[in-house]
């Protein structure tokens, strides 16, 4: 099976995220970068499906040259091909991003054939627009379902599970298709040392794509007003057990 997984390079912040002085970006001066978590699971899922079905995985990202790091990371856990749709590193709005990705995928498919399955992350960890995958798939004329936490391949189709209260919805899509996956669909493997070293040799296909900006513009980022919680000390030692159980009871758990 020929699988494409789209990933986004995002900063890996702690509990408090700082914003640059101009308010236009996360201050990543002391932060590392990572693959947005849903997409990290997407890569893992793609690799697992490829391993099961004997296919291979292409991983694609839109971002600055440094985003090659995320392509290599994907390669270190089993992706075969890397594609970078290069930007100057500024934040692209969802429409522009989708237009560029669509053009890149069309080009890849023109050269190498249609991807049987395209995986997107449900939403990016940073901007969280909830739409790029849907826009790309509409443009490609391909079905997509979001919120996926389980994928089984069956013949020329996939069964996908979407978590709802108390269970799952099941979707059945004929290939080619796309899915927006969520963290929890799997526990992504870490790269092995050999995998990491092999990923250094990944050849990355780079696209420079002119895409028109959309109609949503970032003005500034800021932190919400913080609420400081005061810890209530219920007591010391086993004598505090009834007070602790009171808390559980209030939450309706006892």
């Amino acid at each position: 099976m020929r699988i494409l997984c789209c990933v986004k390079r995002v900063p890996a912040p702690g509990a408090k995220i700082n914003v640059t002085a101009d308010g236009l970006a996360v201050d990543a001066a002391h932060l590392g970068f990572t693959t947005s978590p849903h997409e990290e699971c997407g890569v893992e899922e793609a690799v697992q499906i490829a391993e099961r079905t004997g296919g291979e995985v292409t991983v694609l990202t839109l971002g600055p040259a440094e985003a090659a790091e995320q392509l290599r990371y994907a390669a270190s856990v089993g992706a075969r091909h890397g594609v970078l749709v290069s930007t100057d590193g500024s934040a692209w709005d969802p429409q522009r991003t989708a237009r560029a990705l669509t053009a890149a995928i069309r080009s890849l498919e023109a050269d190498g054939g249609v991807f049987d399955l395209i995986l997107f992350g449900n939403e990016s960890a940073d901007s969280g627009g909830f739409q790029v995958g849907v826009r790309v798939c509409h443009a490609l004329g391909r079905p997509i379902v979001n919120g996926i936490k389980g994928i089984e391949t069956e013949g020329s189709g996939v069964r996908a599970r979407r978590e709802i209260d108390g269970g799952f919805e099941v979707y059945e899509l004929d290939l080619p298709a796309a899915l927006g996956v969520k963290e929890g669909i799997n526990l992504p493997r870490y790269p092995t040392m050999r995998g990491r070293l092999a990923s250094k040799k990944l050849e990355i296909t780079t696209f420079e794509i002119e895409a028109d900006a959309g109609d949503q513009s970032l003005v500034r980022l800021h932190r919400p007003t913080e609420t400081v919680s005061q810890t209530v000390i219920l007591g010391a030692g086993p004598d505090a057990a009834p007070a602790a159980v009171d808390v559980l009871e209030e939450l309706g758990l006892v």
């Binding site: 890996a12 912040p13 702690g14 509990a15 408090k16 995220i17 700082n18 001066a29 002391h30 932060l31 590392g32 970068f33 790091e69 493997r189 870490y190 790269p191 092995t192 040392m193 050999r194 990491r196 070293l197 250094k200």
Partner: protein, 844 residues
């Protein structure tokens, strides 16, 4: 918070391994009213302790680092928070195998059990090591893995149980100082925290990578830089998991790749000191909230680690298929000279540093600082190399800290020669003759910040004249030249001119100057004007703090001349004990005075050509100070003070000059001296061969706070009436009778090693052993070792110095010295000079 401590005896900032152990040790020593503050949560506030690899290799060539490492390992053991995993340093190169021989030597010196292993023996201990790439190993069974977090918790609880208050999640915002008792002094007043202000008498900064930032708040410096040490945790690995232990296999240090492999349960932690130096300014370290992991677990930069992965896989193939579960750019502290920063900071009274200390030496160094604060000096061992007062102003800026730390980071597992010189930050301080010396092909050694010629290529002709040659083994020849021996012999035959501009010179003036000088010195400073003394300064416990000369320049004026390695510590000592009644003023006049040493049988004739003064022993007796005018042919007489003294064993003078007059005098002496065989002469003669032949002790080598003047052979027949620091302890030592050990000079009787090559001990703490090969240890646990080694060209012998028990400190006693893990026969020459023992050449 109603129970916020608004005052305290002492505030310790930083609850890592050091701060926690410090409040524990202070408590044990009777301190109370302590407050421990950390901006992070407990037990892991987010500093370097929290991600430390937590293993201790107890062998180091450096005495302070080694013994405090052993001491720390024992403290962890005593708390039952330590496992002896054993550890192996593996060698991939022949050069490293030689280094392992040197490590065996240091292990013997410090009494740490160690064995050399063949590749097969390495594989027996660690079956997963690829013996194809290993030439051998150095195995130390007492390598231990410790629980530094829990140890910190236990020590903190000990303090808390005795009243120490702990403020976690409380950031220190300022350290407030106020004017001290003397002009220019500052003293600690209060610590401003995010939870309130604490008035306090003492503050200790134990903040690891943040320490300099905290010191800066008080206008002080703790010269260290937060530096990255990369670590990756890979697993799971079956063979490790099967041990069922946190640590079941020895730690492996892959020395030639600057990496280690340390088991953590089912995983292997691979740590590296091989990558490019990556430094961060303390202000750029994220807070606990901002950091993705902890503040000191910075984002991993995998490109820097890739070469180490390949090498790790090469050594242990199983690592290749293990998953990289956790990888960080962990921060630790580096200093410009790779030694910790301990003690009271020179800039602010009662502000102490306990920083640049790693987990492996944390408990021991905390004990050192606690003792220092309690007794006025550390007791566990001498720590002059870690004393924060050692730094000169040029060593405190970031530019210096970063450059030097960058230079030595990759030497963490490097093979570092005892005489190795720095490449960066040279020519910070040079004498007024520097360009002349460059023209003469001077090879400079840097003493802290000062450049000193070690030898002059212009004297290469003398090598042939004296029939000298290079040393046979490259290691022995490194940072050495036969020219130095040639300069030595020329000085003995003719004379030599030595640049002593690096002398650190202080002056005490005022009505209380002489009385205060007497309070510092063991020997009587209150001598007639124009006389000088050579004297120890003692610690309160009667050990050596310093060893220097003091000159009575006037009724109310005393000059102190000390060596460049101790200038910072001595200046601080003088300022710190200065009377507070205004009776004494202190001035550092180093920048204004240059000193030239002129010695050798022709020295009087050479100097006589420039002045009219009576230079005979009668007119200028040994130890005298004579003011003269020198005629340098410039048409302007140059004022000079001639100090008749010798550290090299031949007659001559230290000539004290105004800095700007130096070049004219140098030129005149060189011109006049040409007819007398005068040669510029380097520090190799002044600091090593000349003094060794005379058995002269050097502060920091023979003289340490662990030894007293009786043991060093520097006690005078009588004790002066005036009180002085350490007098009580000194008197008690004299009462006790003959000292247990005595400083001796030894001759190496055969330099040939088992391969028939002549070897030359370097003075790197080589152990002196009995003829039966046993270590020699006194009742205080002090080991007999080489404190200085070097050539005695006039004697044709290689010379060693070291303390020996009194019964062995007898001329003719045959002993052995270990060098590069081989034994060489040595013989005790005596406790004094080997060359010209009656000092006829100096005093006749």
């Amino acid at each position: 918070m109603s129970d916020f401590p608004t005052s305290a005896k002492c505030v310790v900032i930083g609850a890592g391994i050091v701060g926690n152990c410090l409040v524990g040790h202070l408590t044990k020593l009777g301190w109370s009213d302590l407050v421990l503050v950390d901006k992070g949560p407990l037990p892991n506030p987010g500093g370097s302790t929290g991600h430390a690899s937590n293993f201790i290799f107890p062998v180091d060539h450096n005495k302070e680092m080694c013994l405090l490492g052993v001491q720390s390992a024992n403290q962890y053991r005593d708390l039952d928070l330590s496992v002896d995993s054993g550890g192996i340093e593996v060698a991939r190169t022949a050069e490293r195998m030689a280094e392992l021989q040197r490590r065996m030597t240091s292990a013997t010196a410090w009494g740490v059990e160690a064995h050399l292993l063949t590749p097969e023996e390495v594989a027996e201990l660690c079956p997963f090591i690829n013996t194809d790439v290993v030439l051998g190993g150095f195995y130390c069974p007492t390598v231990s893995v410790v629980d530094s977090l829990e140890t910190g918790t236990v020590m903190r609880r000990l303090a808390v149980d005795n009243g120490c208050r702990v403020l976690a999640n409380t950031e220190v915002l300022d350290i407030v100082t106020e004017p001290g008792p003397n002009p220019g002094d500052r003293t600690v007043k209060a610590v401003v925290t995010s939870a309130g202000t604490i008035d306090t008498e003492y503050v200790v900064i134990a903040c690891g990578v943040w320490s300099n930032r905290l010191a800066n708040m008080a206008g002080a410096h703790i010269p260290l830089v937060p530096a990255v040490h990369q670590m990756a945790d890979v697993g799971p690995i079956d063979v490790l998991a099967q041990t069922g232990n946190e640590i079941g296999y020895p730690i492996v240090r892959d020395m030639d790749t600057f990496c280690y492999e340390r088991q953590t349960a089912g995983s292997m932690e691979v740590g590296s000191y091989a990558h490019r130096p990556i430094f961060h300014h303390p202000d750029d370290i994220p807070s606990n909230e901002e950091a993705a992991l902890s503040p000191t677990e910075m984002p991993f930069t995998p490109d820097d680690f890739d070469p180490q992965m390949e090498q790790a896989i090469e050594l242990m193939d199983m690592l290749g298929d293990a998953e990289i579960k956790y990888a960080i750019n962990g921060l630790l502290s580096l200093t410009p000279d790779a030694m910790p920063c301990l003690g009271e900071v020179p800039e602010v009274r009662n502000l102490w540093s306990a920083a640049a200390v790693w987990v492996k030496e944390g408990p021991g160094m905390a004990q050192v600082v606690a003792e220092w604060m309690t007794f006025g000096y550390p007791r566990v061992i001498d720590v002059h190399g870690a004393d924060i007062a050692r730094f000169y102003p040029e060593e405190r800026p970031d530019e210096h800290i970063w450059a030097r730390s960058a230079e030595h980071f990759n030497k963490t597992y490097g093979i570092v020669h005892p005489a190795e010189q720095w490449e960066s930050r040279r020519n910070l301080r040079v004498g007024p003759y520097f360009s002349r010396q460059q023209d003469l092909g001077a090879f400079f050694f840097q003493a802290r910040t000062w450049e000193r010629p070690q030898w002059f290529e212009s004297n290469a002709d003398l090598v042939e004249r004296y029939g000298l040659g290079e040393r046979e083994v490259e290691w022995d020849n490194r940072w050495w030249s036969p020219i130095t021996n040639a300069e030595h012999l020329n000085l003995r035959d003719n004379c030599g001119l030595v640049d002593l501009s690096a002398f650190q010179i202080f002056e005490l003036t005022g009505p209380g100057a002489v009385a205060y000088a007497d309070r510092l010195a063991v020997n009587k400073v209150d001598v007639p004007v124009g006389r000088s003394i050579y004297t120890p300064w003692l610690t309160p416990d009667g050990g050596f703090h310093s060893d220097l000369t003091m000159m009575r320049l006037g009724t109310e004026r005393v000059r102190v001349v000390t060596g460049v390695f101790d200038g910072g510590r001595d200046e601080f000592w003088v300022r710190r004990h200065l009377p507070t009644d205004g009776s004494v003023s202190f001035a550092n006049v180093t920048d204004h005075i240059t000193t030239l040493g002129l010695w050798g049988p022709n020295a009087p004739a050479v100097l006589g050509a420039l002045c009219e003064a009576d230079l005979s022993q009668a007119g200028s007796p040994y130890g005298s100070l004579v003011d003269v005018e020198l005629d340098c042919g410039t048409g302007r007489p140059v004022a000079a003070t001639l100090f008749r003294i010798s550290y090299v064993g031949d007659t001559g003078w230290e000539i004290y000059l105004a800095w700007d007059d130096g070049p004219a005098v140098w030129d005149a002496l060189m011109r006049v001296g040409a007819d007398y065989g005068l040669r510029p002469t380097g520090g190799g003669v002044y600091g090593t061969s000349g003094r060794l032949e005379k058995g002269y002790r050097l502060m920091g080598a023979e003289l340490e706070s662990e030894y007293n003047p009786l043991e060093a052979g520097l006690a005078r027949p009588r004790v002066k009436a005036a009180d002085f620091i350490g007098k009580e302890a000194y008197l008690a030592a004299r009462e006790a009778g003959d000292p247990e050990v005595k400083m001796c000079v030894l001759t190496v009787e055969d330099l040939h090693d088992s391969r028939g090559r002549k070897r030359f001990m370097q003075g790197g703490n080589e152990p002196i052993l009995t003829s039966g090969g046993e270590r020699i240890v006194d009742s205080h646990g002090r080991v007999s070792r080489v404190t200085t080694a070097g050539p005695g060209p006039s004697l044709g012998k290689h010379l060693l110095m070291g303390y020996l028990p009194a019964e062995l400190a007898v001329a003719g006693t045959d002993l052995q010295v270990m060098y590069m893990n081989e034994l060489f026969p040595v013989r005790v020459a005596g406790t004094g000079a080997v060359f010209d023992p009656d000092d006829a050449r100096m005093k006749s």
